[in-house]
Symmetry: C2
Subunit: 211 residues, 2 copies
DNA sequence: GTTGATACAAACTTAAGTGTAGGTATAATC
DNA sequence: GATTATACCTACACTTAAGTTTGTATCAAC
């Protein structure tokens, strides 16, 4: 067996990416070898070296494939004219955590991001992506602050840090292999968490009773 | 040169641990080789293999060395009779974050814990340690809850998750190589964060004005 | 229908790191 | 003060995974 049609080649490329995604998020990037990925996709390493330059390039391709237009749209609507940026951010966080807790591809991608920090070749690219998200979040919070939606004791920087840290911690909590002693009802917790964070960041007058 | 006195041997053991700590936290556990550690300590790998079984055993020894009696005491005082567990927890968190932000050994140790998850041989040991801390924190928060110190919309589980996640996120934020776009005044932020978290978790009547 | 480019497979090379066996000088022990 | 256990060092064998080269069947284009 040898040369295939272009469509078929593209299909094996996607298969390789699928296998890489699965194995990377299952066993970790460093512990996964190219041979394992190839075997999982029923190919040989030759196929990988044909489609990608090396392991780092493979990872890079995974990121490229994972960048969704949805995220872009989300951030844009958050800073639109009529929107309430703080409420949007809280809602987005809630949705994010809920999906992170399922077996969605989002979770796999976040695990990848989490691990890829160990791979120096990708650190810059990752930093870039993080910085973009960070500045979006910062923008939203700044808008909220300018409208007096933030608590007087909470600067934009602190609110930013709070969200940033919570997100990172969530990813760690959900992705990490850590066995938590405490059995948790995630849905309930996420709901209560959002309410709590609202109390922490919102201006006193803007707090609503639980919906 | 050959055999040394017992005291000297113990000293080289400590030197090896020091070098391992430095290199592990500088370049990561996986990217650091035993040869590099030995060279940094002006020894050879032979010395490492004499004092430790392998890389995992070395890491394990690092953890053993890092377990401070201070932490134990801190958790004990938190759940003592007269103490206000919630306030103690908030204070401890504040202190923790401040020290994490310095170049203390605590930071190095936390970075190790963070990375060692990738090393499967240590995952169990780490889980154990984490679980201990978790249960301490959970205990403190439960006590606070029983005294009515928690906000009615905030269950013990949610408060626990909030602290847990914040801690993990902080470690990630401080330890990670991530370049943050936003320049931050850490001291101020930590102060405001604690106040914010207090608003999130504390029962409404117990909130104090800023001290 | 021949020819060149494609899409891999398979075998080989290279490099890095771990593990180990053997040597050796010296502290400890008696 | 002879012996033994200790605390390493040196060198080499083994393993593992990345990277490279070569081979080859087939698609595509003329």
């Amino acid at each position: 067996m040898a040369r295939k049609t272009k469509a078929e080649a593209e299909k094996t490329r996607q298969l390789l990416l699928d296998s890489a995604m699965r194995l990377f998020s299952e066993k970790g990037v460093v512990k996964t070898t190219l041979a394992q990925i190839a075997a999982d996709a029923q190919m040989t390493r030759g196929a990988i070296y044909w489609h990608f330059e090396d392991k780092a390039d493979l990872l890079h391709a995974l990121f490229e494939r994972s960048i969704t237009p949805e995220a872009e749209r989300l951030w844009r609507t958050m800073t639109e004219e009529g929107a309430d940026p703080l409420e949007c951010l809280l809602k987005a966080s809630h949705a994010f955590w809920l999906e992170m807790n399922s077996e969605s591809t989002l979770k796999q991608v976040m695990m990848l991001y989490n691990q890829a920090e160990q791979v120096p070749e990708l650190a810059d690219k990752l930093d870039e992506l993080h910085c973009q998200e960070d500045s979006h979040m910062y923008q939203a919070l700044k808008m909220a602050s300018e409208r007096g939606a933030l608590h007087p004791d909470m600067s934009v920087e602190t609110a930013f840090t709070l969200f940033h840290t919570l997100h990172a911690g969530m990813v760690q909590l959900v992705c990490g292999a850590r066995k938590c002693t405490v059995e948790l009802d995630k849905e309930k917790i996420f709901r209560e968490l959002i309410l709590g964070i609202e109390r922490a960041v919102s201006a006193p007058g803007r707090l609503k009773s639980p919906r």
